[in-house]
């Protein structure tokens, strides 16, 4: 299993992601420049956090048309795995690989803090072995993280079990107070109908190195390694 991190101008979590996958999870991982159209044999693509193209127009909107994105879409449509973290999630919704959009936080402020997440299902590679009753502490850092979609699509993704993570409090209760950005139904992360494309706003790669004092994010990322087994 070879991982690839797509780097756009303005990506800023690419190095964190490479560090965690290479040194903490012991995986082979390379960076893929957005102007390239060669996925270098990567089996699992990660679109990292950051501010691709300065968030101009809408977060993720311009990155979606970078040359490599046609290959990423092709890879996803062929069943290949793709994970978008934060800005990467925004890029994947703009690319139409995941349903919905990420709007400006309801309180209009940039969120930079630890939040708690609860896995909503075990029916996905990303959440396969997670404890559904546990609250995982993972940081968020975003201004546009309010998950939104029309009612019909919301019903569809809930019925299809595509909601992977919800914001909750430290006790695992999914409450309005624990929702950091006004996301519909406290949604923090989802997958596509094919269950091979994942997106979430929180940053598990920032909570993986023991040096940083929190390794809950590592538990999330370790789920992905089930494909290598």
């Amino acid at each position: 299993m070879k991982f690839g991190v797509v780097v756009f101008p303005g990506s800023n979590c690419d190095d964190d992601t490479v560090h965690v996958f290479r040194h903490i999870l012991g995986q082979e991982i390379v960076k893929l420049w957005h102007k390239s159209t060669n996925l270098e044999g990567c089996d699992f693509l990660i679109i990292p956090g950051g501010f691709s193209y300065g968030d101009y127009l809408r977060s993720g909107a311009i990155a979606r048309f970078s040359p490599i994105m046609d290959k990423v879409i092709e890879h996803a449509n062929a069943g290949g795995y793709v994970l978008g973290i934060c800005n990467g999630f925004q890029v994947l919704v703009e690319a139409g690989l995941l349903p919905g959009v990420l709007l400006r936080n309801d309180h209009q402020k940039f969120n930079s803090k630890n939040v708690y997440l609860r896995a909503a299902t075990n029916h996905s590679l990303f959440t396969g072995d997670l404890d559904l009753t546990r609250a995982y502490k993972v940081p968020v850092a975003h201004a546009e993280g309010r998950y939104f979609t029309d009612e019909a699509t919301l019903k569809q993704i809930i019925d299809n079990d595509q909601v992977l993570f919800r914001y909750c409090d430290a006790d695992g209760q999914v409450t309005e107070a624990a929702n950091p950005n006004g996301s519909l139904d406290n949604i923090a992360g989802i997958c596509n109908a094919g269950r091979n494309v994942f997106g979430l706003m929180p940053h598990p790669e920032r909570a993986s190195d023991p040096l940083l004092g929190n390794t809950d994010g590592r538990i999330l990322l370790e789920q992905l390694l089930a494909v290598t087994a």
Partner: protein
């Protein structure tokens, strides 16, 4: 022929627009209490080469649908004039 397009992109009415809400509060703080439903969007202008008005409008519409607006959260309108 060259055409000039003026495009407005606005958040959809049913979606909470926190920017508009904050600005409305500011206006109320100025004493302008009669103002309501402030919504903030983008104004985009561009020039486009086309054979006719219709062809120019078709290009602008495609640009709006494919990139300039995200129809899940925004609506758009535009005016195209010959330059």
């Amino acid at each position: 022929m060259k055409f000039f397009a003026e495009i407005n992109v606005l958040p959809q009415k049913e979606i909470l627009d926190p920017q508009g809400k904050a600005v409305k509060l500011g206006l109320h703080n100025l004493g302008m209490d009669a103002i309501d439903n402030v919504r903030i969007g983008k104004r985009i202008t561009l020039e486009v080469e086309a054979d006719s008005q219709e062809a120019a409008e078709a290009q602008v519409k495609t640009a709006c649908e494919k990139l300039l607006a995200n129809l899940i959260m925004e609506s758009f309108d535009f005016v195209v004039k010959p330059l």
